[in-house]
Symmetry: C2
Subunit: 499 residues, 2 copies
């Protein structure tokens, strides 16, 4: 049995503990400081296990041993209203430690799936699905350089009973034992069975499980501290070598070698599609009225909407967005514009800043530029390595699946224009006293790489136009046509969802 | 009557509008960019007024005129669960635009007090109290350099009826009219009466009300745009002059002239108070057990706790905190340590980062160093000007009053030690392999100014030990005594609150 190795009765005497503690503590501190200074990866340490095996006291001990300013203890209870409005993993994304810091997790992402399985609230299939979600979450972090360490603190059933009895009998300690603990104890075998499945299915390099005997607190504390020190040391060395190889800073590539222009999905577009101004005026008013009504209903029913806008510079994203949200309640809709990430955002996984902006229940979040920056501008400018942007397609698909599966309406618009049309708009902007801010040096630079960007856009559509979250490509040379198509599409999908 | 000036039937023809719009738009953009670049103050623009007077469309127009990347539209509905757990102003603090940015507010802080007054849900006294709270909030921002512009959009009762009728009759627009709008219309006079009171009581330099005739949208848009441009221009000039006078950067003062040492509240302390190790051990265990139990009850009852720790370096704050939270559920307690503010925090009012950390319902938030930094280290180092730290005492008292009035248990501990004791602890830390990180150059520098810091601490106690939020001064030379006193005090107060 998997846990037999953790029922050996290992213990450490108090004097041995004192001696080893001193050395371990120094080592952990030095490692913590190296991690902080390097600031290249976050550390997530999870504590799961049998009730009474000392998860809480171990977290306290680590807070004592290390510099608590750079540690954060994170625990979860039943989802709050704000959390329920977002996909399940929203709260885990929100609470991720930034690069260089350490998060200590109690009742983390494994807690609920485990209990649901033990108490039969989820069947094998649902349990599998939940674990698969966790694996994807951990993969995204590990691929980004994070160190995840997971501890299962074990007690035999007899030892657990002894421990709970002892705590209950001691008036000073009895508050530590809850009814839930006794209930879990009665289901000890189910508990262990589900734990075995969790551990075998979610063990991977960079996010491994460590089973630790929980009976003797001295032994347990030292063992956990030593594993953390060993793994952190190994991980640090790897990253330090990478940093040294990259000349101490993140490498900036100059993009990929230019290959002859390939056909793209945009070639077949009839960009000349147009609409008359009078048609536009009457239809816009009609669509806006309809969308205003639908927006109210959506709010009442708690249906949230995420709208994503991508496309070449000057393709009319801002104008289309403004008209689309014109009739929506400004109190329940938000437009988020994304440019270069801030200091805080750079210290996190690239998806972190987007997770934070998912809408509250019944709200509309508009993303003017989005997580697709990873596979567009970051790819083009070499801010993301090839390995990074290549795996981003999957990470993005997973992110969007979670949004859609949570019941949020997700619509992705690619507003496209021709190369000549862009030039004309740039020139107009240059001359306009109140639009020239829209035009930057970067826009001209990007324009020189038009073919490349079309190719990148093609890849985006190819890899991320999924059944659940298809791209809606909008012919944009005629702004009026584009705006109507956007607002009509939003209305149709929202109406279908609310029907 | 106050609003007669806004029933003059002023209007602007479409051709005039086009001509003036062009100039205004350019002007607004330039001002917006200067504000962004200077990054010395945030701008809050509030839209209130009669239903149907065009608040929403004006916000849309401003989004069109200015660069929407640096604008944020903010609106509020009924408080969410997360918001209800904190003092009323929590959500307004959370959403403050950073320096250089502009926030556009719909249904903002005036909305609820107004409606409650109109519908008789609050009496004159309560109404006054609410307005006084708003004034304090606005004062704190204005004193910190913010520009607050408040617009009351007016319609006569007849014009409002006409407007609501017209909207209702138009199938394209009827969604804009809600039952609430008609109800408010019936209470038009009450509405106007309450609005008059709001405007007269909350008008002040730097946060003034502007009454704008809402009937003609061309007139309204231009008028509001021009007021914003004028006020922003004036405010910018003032700040630009200040920045130039300060040599383009925030002045760093070298502290105040040293005056002969004054007697302080700490002089009377018996720092030698002590407790035997065996007493300590048994009592600590007893108190921790009690607090563990109380912590559970507090969570069940939704009673939140805020614990603040201040005192000289090495006075034992960290150790006392660790023992106090030892028996609390790690999932519902958080320790926040505060050092120098981050880039994002520096772009906000100094209280902003503390507001964000107020606890959820039933949670415990521990502040290891706190908002008192403003009147301690920032005063000592000259990071805050004399005017800034002097008014901070009142701002802090107001902040703490809001916490206490909301039903949160607030306890402020000042852990004090003697000058010799500090030296001894510094020397021990120097020698300890796992404590020397706690000791920095800054600690030694601060130590040289011991008398000054005691004086600053004295002022803190003098000005901020209020009936609602008194300081608990803890004699800290004996760590064991200090820890017991802290945990006993927390237990006593929590027990009294839960009784």
């Amino acid at each position: 049995m998997m846990f037999d190795t953790a029922e050996l009765g290992q213990s450490v005497s108090q004097s041995d503990f004192k001696a080893r503690e001193r050395e371990l503590r120094t080592r952990l501190l030095i490692l913590q400081y190296r991690t902080l200074e390097l600031a290249r990866f976050p550390v997530l340490i999870d504590f799961a296990g049998v009730d009474g095996a000392g998860k809480g006291t171990t977290v306290n001990m680590l807070n004592k041993w290390m510099d608590p300013r750079w540690l954060r203890s994170i625990g979860y209870r039943v989802q709050t209203q704000e959390e329920r409005a977002r996909p399940r993993f929203w709260r885990y994304w929100r609470d991720l430690p930034p690069k260089g810091r350490i998060g200590l997790y109690l009742s983390g992402r494994y807690s609920r799936p485990l209990l649901n399985r033990v108490y039969g609230d989820s069947d094998e299939l649902e349990f599998d699905r939940r674990l698969a979600g966790i694996i994807r979450f951990e993969n995204a972090l590990v691929d980004d350089g994070a160190l995840i360490l997971k501890f299962w603190m074990h007690l035999s059933q007899a030892d657990q009973k002894q421990r709970l009895d002892a705590l209950s009998a001691d008036p000073m300690q009895s508050y530590r034992v809850s009814d839930d603990d006794w209930q879990n104890h009665e289901r000890y075998d189910d508990f262990i069975g589900a734990a075995e499945q969790i551990i075998t299915r979610t063990n991977r390099g960079g996010a491994q499980w460590n089973i630790v005997e929980g009976k003797d607190s001295n032994f347990r504390h030292l063992r956990i501290g030593e594993i953390i020190a060993d793994e952190l040391s190994r991980h640090l060395e790897m990253h330090e070598q990478q940093a040294a190889a990259a000349g101490g800073s993140v490498a900036i590539h100059s993009g990929e070698p230019t290959s002859p222009r390939q056909r793209t999905v945009f070639d077949g577009l009839d960009l000349s599609r147009t609409v008359s101004r009078s048609d536009y005026k009457s239809k816009l008013k009609e669509y806006q009225a309809g969308l205003g009504e639908l927006g109210r209903k959506a709010f009442d029913q708690g249906v949230s909407t995420v709208l994503v806008f991508e496309g070449p510079d000057a393709s009319g994203k801002g104008g289309a967005i403004r008209r689309a949200i014109w009739s929506l309640d400004a109190r329940t809709s938000r437009v988020h514009q994304f440019a270069a990430p801030t200091e805080e955002e750079r210290a996190h996984h690239y998806l972190w800043r987007f997770w934070r902006k998912l809408p509250q229940a019944g709200f509309v979040s508009v993303f003017d530029r989005s997580w697709y920056g990873r596979v567009l501008v970051e790819r083009a400018e070499g801010y993301a390595t090839e390995a990074e942007w290549r795996r981003a397609y999957n990470e993005i698909n997973d992110f969007e699946n979670q949004i859609v599966d949570h019941g949020i309406l997700l619509l992705k618009f690619w507003l496209h224009i021709g190369e000549d049309e862009q030039l004309e708009r740039f020139r107009k902007r240059e001359k306009s006293p109140y639009k020239h801010w829209k035009l930057t040096e970067e826009d001209w630079r990007n324009r020189e790489r038009w073919d490349e960007y079309e190719q990148f856009g093609h890849d985006v559509v190819q890899y991320t136009s999924t059944q659940k979250a298809p791209w809606i490509i909008v012919e944009g040379n005629d702004k009026l046509h584009a705006r109507l198509k956007v607002i009509e599409t939003i209305s149709d999908h929202l109406a279908a969802r609310l029907a």
